[in-house]
Symmetry: C2
Subunit: 418 residues, 2 copies
């Protein structure tokens, strides 16, 4: 069988399984998830043995320490995977939910019923825990999934997939409800992202270059997660304590995450009050600061920020700072340089807060809150399969609901069109 035929067969099987999953009741899906958790526990030894092979090959191939760390199935990693499954079991099942059911003047009812998308293709780098997260979120939302993990994790992923297959068949669900692409041939991805008749959406998880390449080549909708160039704007009507607390947290709570602040905007009228104490706090933890001319005038020791800085997602302990005249200038800066991920205003002024909320076009817009809160868990969505920087279909953290769609339902009593 050619590679193309293999991948198409996987697609066909996924499509068939998706029809079963779409009408599988919640309790059975939850039983499958619990059984998968049990298998992970039982197979811990063989998971770690498989993982050891990947780690050995990774070391031989000179992968760096951070990469190997993400690849390692520590006891805690497996415990987290199991814990994650129980969290997904606890989430409400969106499938079948009916909303907006109402009578039309002609006397029939119209509403919307939530249904799975169908088949979800997930392409991710060498983090074996994604295999479980992605499979579990798709299963709970009634979708069949096709998983393509990084080749460096292939043995780990195969061992995890074995646990998933056992869990599925133990409760009588088709094994093909979750399928791992076992070949590490890159052409498999090319085929997967073009099978529009078998795959309904592609979710790439990984670096920007991976996501851009897949979006370019896909013939299927892609839920994209590109840059996170996030801003906090401290308005001159801000509460000083809140401003310092939020701006400090938004930058320093974690550096490498997409919802970390990369540029701090400060209103001219409050700059002399808020910047010196904030700068002290940042410097105390080693954050490198780069300022606009006005910031440099205030704090002469600061490096200059260039045009390039406003467009950069540092993912590192670096922060650019710009002093702006007012909320309008802050919004204009954000709508020019933001990647439309997450932006926050710190203010006690009602009108400016609403101005910011309505005029900033980002997937999360906040008042008096840290950009670090933009996250599926923090928002109560449960685990997230990704964060969408698109506007189409889903925006921001994508949980179970983002893996579903709505169909119209019409309930009549012999109603016809006149």
């Amino acid at each position: 069988m050619t590679l193309q035929d293999q991948i198409r067969q996987i697609g066909q099987q996924a499509r068939q399984a998706s029809q079963v999953l779409a009408r599988t009741q919640t309790s059975l899906k939850n039983q499958a998830l619990a059984d998968i958790a049990k298998q992970l526990e039982l197979q811990k030894g063989s998971l770690q043995a498989a993982n050891a092979k990947d780690l050995e090959a990774g070391k031989a191939n000179g992968l760096d320490a951070a990469f190997l760390d993400r690849l390692t199935l520590k006891d805690a990693t497996i415990a987290n995977m199991i814990e994650g499954l129980y969290q997904i079991i606890a989430l409400p099942d969106p499938v079948g939910t009916i909303s907006d059911l109402h009578y039309r003047p002609a006397g029939f009812q119209v509403g919307r019923m939530r249904v799975p998308l169908g088949v979800v293709g997930i392409i991710y780098e060498s983090r074996p825990n994604v295999t479980i997260d992605a499979a579990a979120l798709c299963l709970k939302s009634g979708n069949a999934s096709i998983l393509r993990g990084g080749s460096e994790a292939i043995h780990s992923n195969q061992a995890i997939a074995q646990c998933i297959y056992t869990g599925l068949t133990n409760v009588g669900l088709p094994k093909t409800a979750v399928q791992l692409i076992e070949t590490t041939d890159r052409a498999a991805v090319g085929e997967l992202i073009r099978m529009a008749e078998y795959v309904d959406v592609i979710i790439p998880r990984g670096g920007k270059s991976l996501i851009e390449r897949i979006s370019q080549e896909a013939r299927i909708p892609v839920i994209k997660h590109l840059d996170g160039i996030c801003h906090v704007y401290i308005d001159d009507k801000a509460d000083l304590d809140k401003a310092i607390k939020v701006a400090y947290n938004a930058k320093t709570q974690r550096y490498g995450t997409c919802n970390t602040m990369e540029t701090l905007l400060v209103a001219q009228g409050i700059a002399t009050q808020v910047l010196p104490p904030l700068v002290d706090k940042y410097q105390a933890v080693g954050v490198e600061l780069r300022g606009c001319q006005a910031t440099q005038a205030l704090l002469p020791q600061m490096k200059a920020a260039t045009e390039e800085d406003w467009r950069t997602e540092y993912l590192a302990p670096i922060l650019s700072i710009r002093i702006v005249a007012n909320v309008e200038e802050a919004i204009a800066h954000i709508n020019t340089y933001s990647s439309q991920h997450t932006d926050s205003i710190i203010t006690e002024d009602w009108t400016r807060a609403w101005q910011f909320l309505t005029q900033v076009d980002s997937s999360s817009v906040m008042v008096n809150a840290s950009t670090r809160l933009a996250d599926g868990f923090e928002y109560g969505l449960g685990a997230e399969i990704g964060i969408s920087t698109d506007k189409f279909h889903a925006r921001g953290p994508v949980g179970l609901e983002g893996l579903t769609s709505q169909k119209f339902i019409v309930l009549g009593e012999g109603h016809v069109r006149g």
Copy 2:
């Protein structure tokens, strides 16, 4: 300026205008729509003069009567365009609507705010009334639009666009909120559907081949409206009167529409009761009938339906009929042959109705109602910009809400991530 530069300039202008429109209040958008209606009334003479040029050229080029009819701006067409504008004025504005606002355990609030998609590209055939409908729906939902109508209607579309530009500028909105692509060069479409940085969604309106071609080539999400192979299933627990009324309406109320029934499925147990009177009614209005073997056994004069018939959208007075054992067989037939547009069950049985509603995966699923009701107006969405046969983003009739997205809003009091 090259064609590519021209189209990119239009895109850039649309992106800028979209930022203005996103924060334009409802009353001003409604004023613009009312002013456009006034211009159409005032410019009726010049609209019809421009239209006469298109008609003349169309006749010279040998366009058929049906084509020329759709192209003609009759008094009634213009009156309908104006009436359509007032209907859109009367619809509620979805932009800014906040839903699901709730407190998280940590004490901050999370909710969702509805926002425009941004820039909508619409590609349509030579029906000048689409120019107004599409522009008005986009404007009301806060989106900038780029319109590319069929070249046979270019003079009519230019004249209509002039009314739109005047209406926009009269109320102080940017003229570039709606832009008609004036070149009839086909390469313009190729450019439009690839400008991902300036255009957020493409909506093709027209025949299947146009939509398929655009979906293939686009690098932007496309709201697709492909086949409408719609079914009515008459269950053996159906009320006979409702069954006959609905099955007759679903086929005969209009033949050329996507929500017209193409295949009638009848439960074996009720076939002898329901088919003879229905067949009489169909034959009385000249509907050609094609039956499965069991149907032919019951009604020997009937032509045989082939495998090809189950897959065909006739858009004509032709109906295929199949006798099935029960609701399960009906659902299996539908999930094999339906284009997932609209399917209806006629039954008085509660369990079978819900089985059908939950197991048929179509954009509209109905109980005791005619498939012809699947329509934005009938559903109370107001005018529709299209009917989506996709599952992603929007499914079924797409009105104002389908032209929007939701962003998260977070309202805190200095909340940070712990």
